[in-house]
């Protein structure tokens, strides 16, 4: 069994396996598939509760992942954000001395969530400029009505 605590390196290696055996597009295809099939909970929560659905979704996952973060919700402004001071997944990968993390590991967070949220009427901004230090920031905003 691969314990859930060792899932992150398993996924990093899956991305690397796909890229090396099938090419970069294969990784993107997989991320799209994951977004469509595995993120139904996020999709359903946001569809039912609006921007608060983001809060409900990440409040569960980030706590179980023991992340170091600040999460903010402003329902009136239609904005939700996560400031990740130490992503447990990326920090784990960076801390492994004997395997190299997939070079675009954090890219999945951009693809998976954007693909769910944009069709629901939200802008998704993801700052990956400090992912080499396991830090990132994402902001979800309700698109203004036309």
């Amino acid at each position: 069994m691969i314990p859930c605590t060792e899932f992150i390196p398993a996924y990093s290696e899956l991305f690397a396996f796909l890229e090396e055996s099938r090419g970069r597009d294969a990784v993107r295809d997989f991320w799209n598939y994951l977004s469509d099939t595995f993120l139904r909970t996020l999709r359903d929560l946001v569809a039912a509760h609006g921007i608060r659905g983001c809060w409900m979704y990440w409040n569960h996952t980030l706590n179980e992942e023991a992340a170091d973060f600040t999460m903010e919700l402003d329902e009136e402004a239609g904005e939700f954000s996560i400031t990740m001071r130490r992503c447990p997944s990326k920090a784990m990968l960076l801390g492994l001395g004997h395997i190299e993390p997939y070079h675009d590991y954090c890219g999945h967070c951009d693809v998976l969530y954007r693909r769910v949220l944009e069709p629901l009427g939200y802008e998704y901004a993801y700052d990956m400029s400090e992912t080499d230090r396991a830090r990132c920031r994402l902001v979800v905003r309700r698109k203004p009505a036309l």
Binding site: M1, T5, A10, E13, L34, W55, E64, A66
Partner: protein, 155 residues
């Protein structure tokens, strides 16, 4: 309309996100449907050889006790019910209920048809280059109940 803020540090919570089993299962299902069963086994073997290289080295150095310690640790972490029959030359792991499969069944995550390869192929790969081999004895896809034997390979 509410404004809310929450700040957490890593020390506030225990790192145990069992939904990751569902994500791994989705990955296994995708690999099989898109590229075939051999791709699943190739991926699991590759991951095992690379990620578990320190464990493989420990098995070479200390024998099956290194693998026993690893198995006891990960199943205890996840609350799995196991039984290990240990001897220096042979060890059998009986998993009475797989915590990964149990979590997925309880939370409605599909269990990939080849999810067992994350154990069967993994154990075979762990033995590569060591004096031991694994024998996959049985598996129940509904519960993940399984048995695997590790024994010293014939000279």
């Amino acid at each position: 309309m509410a404004r809310e803020t929450v700040t957490r540090s890593a020390a506030d919570n225990v790192y145990l996100h069992k939904d990751f089993h569902g994500a791994l299962s989705a990955g296994i299902a995708y690999l099989e449907s898109r590229y075939g069963a051999e791709a699943v086994r190739s991926y699991v073997r590759r991951f095992t050889v690379k990620y578990y290289a320190p464990l493989v080295q420990a098995i070479k150095d200390r024998g099956l006790s290194a693998l026993r310690d690893h198995l006891q640790r990960i199943y205890a972490l996840e609350g799995g019910r196991i039984k290990i029959d240990f001897a220096e030359e042979e060890m059998t792991l009986e998993v009475e209920e797989c915590p990964a499969v149990a979590h997925m069944r309880a939370h409605g995550y599909p269990v990939a048809p080849l999810f067992h390869e994350t154990s069967k192929t993994l154990y075979a790969a762990l033995c590569e280059g060591t004096p031991f081999v694994s024998e996959w004895l049985r598996y129940d896809a509904r519960t993940g109940r399984s048995a695997v034997r590790f024994r010293r390979s014939a000279p």
